[in-house]
Amino acid sequence: MPRTSKRKAAPPSVKSSDAVPVRPGKAISKTVEQIDRLFDSYANPSLGLIDPEGIETLCSDVGVNHTDIRILMLAWKMNAEKQGYFSKDEWRTGLKALKADSLNKLKKALPALETQVMMPPNFQDFYAYAFRYCLTEEKQKCVDIETICELLNLVLGSQFHAQVNSMSEYLKFQSEYRMLNMDQWMNFYRFCHEISFPDLQNYDSNQAWPLILDGFVEWMREKQC
């Protein structure tokens, strides 16, 4: 997971429902209890949330690097709103969906989660989520180039290694854009899927591709000459 921004803005407020336990049927309530207990073991008591430190601990317990894509996938599954923090609701949502009420079960659920995310309709959603997750300030619409490059590598690096490499190189090389927006981000995904690489034969700049991709293709073509 990409590092959280240096400027720490206020974390989201604790919801009142977090404090009040839910009491459905007995068996289910046992699961809920276990999930909640697991939450508490990582949460920061004064915030009532799992904070970045807690997440790091969770990661080492689960046995993945905290920059591993699976943590991002987990965040996606939880639909976590704020980068670096998991609220109780989000934790519950995620673990319930994974049918995990213990650390062990959580560990075991991760491979299946990975497979699920890689499936087409989910992946696109996950890809968009990854971008949104980096919008740490309120009203922020763009993500800086450095973060983008890291994110691309994390999220698409295994599937589209060559494209990601070239694109990262280009993004660092060009000076016109310092940040990318969601539209540009999503279009890169479409680019990887639709455009043959590295020959770029079927790319047509007269279509609605964002300018930055036009620039990327131009740069690549010049390099190839």
Binding site: N206, A208, L211
Partner: protein, 691 residues
């Protein structure tokens, strides 16, 4: 009393007498002509034989025997005489026999007329006249048509070669081909026309192939024109009118279509050469010959366009060469103004061509326009064509300009300049340059003639719309009002001597928005300099970046400012390090030791690079214009594909400038970020308007 029955043999014997007499007359043997009694007797005989009661009603037999007369006559007299003759003689004989036959049919059918009235009608049989003609057709025409046709065609070819032929004879022969069709043109067309056309085609094909290599283009065209004239003449004299179109097309095809490219592209005499050498008459002929041929004019107009473009580009290149060999001066020099003048002349010349040689044909108007659009948008030594044109206008309209022209000549020139503007794609750039120069002319009273100023604005308004000239018109109006105000003010001062301000005061009130913004003014210390120096009231020493922050100027402006205060004639500030260029790391100190002999000094700011400012301003305006156009389009269409959106945007803005596709894309991205637009979820190439 009962009529006496006429037996068939008897009656026929009577008829034969008359028929024989008729034949003899036709053969030219002396005979008395038919008297009325002869005629009545013959007619009555037939009448009786047809009205007798059966078995003595001989209508059918008589009808058959009527035809047999012709058959027999043709077989025994007509055909043999034709067969023994050839060529022209055969044709004469044919014509004679045909005329004879017509007479024979006419007379005989009169004798037998009663058959027509009842028998033919009742039985729906061919009329007597028709029967007669059919005999000739089937027995004579069919036999001789091939020879006749060949004879005619060879006579035509002889005439084409310059020999005199008997035109009347040909006319008569061809009349047979027409008449024998009895109302239908089929026989004429199939038995004669098609062969004649083929032969004509072959004839002209041979001629063309030898002429095309030997003759120059103008000579060839003269020949072609002459041939076409002669062929039309031929039709009017002896061919059937329906052949004219086909024959002309055939000849045109062989002479003009087949060899068009070879003809036009002849190196020393072809279309390009004619244009080069101003051969107006030959070009007119070329137009006349090719304009009736479908797509015939396309290559001509292409060559015309190429030629005009080349001439224009040569002028541009010439100006560029001269300008670059002189020292670069950053502004628009003499050479560039001369260029505009030359382009105007070029335009006049080729507009005349389009009107006179090419009879105002739209294809050539288009070619001219496209040619001018190519070179009228080329820059010369850094100045865009928009700037050149604006400077040219300024030169004409200002006092002491380099062109000394009469009022009429000025009007005419202004008219032509506005016409040239139509070819320039960056019209908004022209407007900006023009406005800046107009402002200077007006403010410093350098305008030569107010009427001319107003006149050109009217012309610009007509051509480019009211929005184009609204600011400029506002400026002119401001000045007129200002003058009136000044006069009233002076009058007021005169009438109220106690209100004297103590100095000469002239005020010009300007409406904001009409006038360009100015940085420099004619005071001895420009505003920003004063501001910069005031900073030193609070500090002895300031760095570049500190001054930057406090003054809030652009780097360009600050550098200029500091340079004039520390590196120019008067060192009001000391610079550390004491180099001649301003760097962002420099520090500045107030020079307390500054003195000068003079009591009043002028510390001028070096002039702003006006051209760059204008271009920047226009670029900014364009960004807004593109935004506005995009939003306008999407608001009305709601959903639109990318290419179509771009196309409509270009079209809408085309009146003022040609928008860069990249710029449009950039604005679209901006609009997406600002949530005006979004992409369609299923098709990334389609955009939706977000209200």
């Amino acid at each position: 009393m009962e009529r006496k029955i006429i037996e068939l043999d008897q009656g026929w014997a009577y008829m034969l007498k008359g028929i024989t007499k008729l034949k003899r007359i036709l053969e030219g043997l002396t005979e008395d002509p038919f008297s009325s009694e002869d005629y009545i007797f013959l007619y009555t005989t037939i009448y009786n034989m047809c009205t007798q009661k059966p078995p003595h009603d001989y209508s059918q037999q008589l009808y058959d025997m009527y035809r047999e007369v012709f058959d027999e006559y043709i077989a025994s007299m007509v055909l043999p005489s034709l067969k023994e003759k050839h060529d022209e003689f055969m044709l004469s004989e044919l014509v004679q026999r045909w005329l004879n036959h017509k007479v024979m049919v006419r007379w005989q059918s009169r004798f037998f007329h009663y058959l027509d009235r009842y028998f033919v009608a009742r039985r729906s049989l061919p009329a007597l006249y028709e029967v007669g003609l059919t005999c000739f057709r089937d027995l004579v025409y069919q036999e001789v048509k091939a020879n006749a046709r060949d004879a005619v065609i060879s006579l035509i070819d002889k005439e084409r070669e310059g020999e005199q032929i008997d035109r009347a004879l040909l006319k008569n022969v061809i009349d047979i081909f027409v008449a024998i069709g009895m109302g239908q043109m089929e026989l004429y067309e199939q038995d004669f026309e098609v062969h004649m056309l083929q032969d004509s085609g072959a004839y002209y094909s041979r001629k063309a192939s030898s002429w095309i290599s030997d003759d120059s283009c103008p000579d060839y065209m003269l020949k072609a024109e002459e041939c076409l004239k002669r062929e039309r003449d031929r039709v009017s004299h002896y061919l059937h009118i329906s052949s004219e179109q086909k024959l002309v097309e055939k000849v045109q095809h062989e002479l003009l279509v087949v060899y068009e490219m070879q003809l036009l592209e002849k190196e020393y005499s072809g279309c390009r050469a004619l244009l080069r050498d101003d051969k107006v008459e030959d070009l007119s002929r070329m137009y006349r010959l090719y304009h009736k041929i479908p797509k015939g004019l396309d290559p001509v107009s292409t060559i015309f366009k190429q030629h005009v473009t080349a001439e224009g580009m040569a002028l541009v290149q010439q100006a560029e060469d001269v300008a670059s060999s002189q020292t670069a001066n950053g502004g628009v020099g003499m050479q560039e103004l001369v260029l505009v003048r030359k382009i105007i002349e070029l335009h006049d010349k080729y507009v005349a061509y389009v009107n006179d040689c090419f009879l105002n044909h739209s294809l050539f108007h288009k070619a001219l326009k496209e040619a001018f659009e190519v070179f009228c948008n080329k820059a010369v030594s850094g100045s865009s064509s928009a700037e050149l044109l604006a400077t040219f206008c300024d030169n004409i309209l200002k006092k002491g300009g380099s062109e000394k022209l009469s009022d009429e000549a000025i009007e005419e020139t202004l008219e032509k300049v506005v016409k040239l503007l139509a070819y320039i794609s960056d019209k908004d750039l022209f407007a900006e340059f023009y406005r800046k120069k107009l402002a200077r002319r007006l403010l410093f009273d350098r305008s030569a003639n107010e009427d001319h100023e107003k006149s050109i604005l009217t012309k610009l308004k007509q051509q480019c719309g009211a929005q184009f000239t609204s600011k400029m018109e506002g400026m002119v109006t401001d000045l007129t009002l200002a003058r009136e105000n000044q006069n009233s003010f002076e009058e007021y001062l005169h009438n109220n001597t106690n209100v004297n301000p103590g100095l000469d005061l002239t005020v010009t009130v300007l409406t904001t928005g009409f006038w360009p913004s100015y940085k420099s003014c004619d005071l001895s210390l420009p505003q920003e300099m004063a501001a910069a120096l005031l900073l030193f009231n609070n500090a002895d020493r300031l760095s570049y970046s500190e001054m930057m922050t406090q003054l809030n100027l652009t780097h360009d402006d600050l550098v200029r400012l500091l340079h004039s205060l520390s590196c120019a004639k008067y060192k009001i500030l000391n610079k550390e390090p004491n180099t001649k260029t301003i760097l962002q790391t420099d520090n500045f100190e107030f020079n307390s030791k500054f003195t000068d002999r003079m009591r009043r000094i002028k510390v001028p700011l070096p002039p702003v690079d006006e051209r760059k400012r204008v271009i920047e301003d226009v670029d900014k305006d364009r960004r807004y214009a593109i935004d506005a156009a995009l939003v306008r389009i999407m608001k009305s269409r709601k959903v639109l594909g990318h290419q179509q959106l771009v196309m409509e945007c270009v079209e809408q803005l085309g009146r003022m400038f040609k928008p860069d596709i990249k710029a449009i894309k950039k604005r679209m991205e901006d609009l997406i970020t600002r949530d005006y637009l979004e992409r369609d979820k299923d098709n990334q190439n389609i955009f939706k308007y977000l209200a």
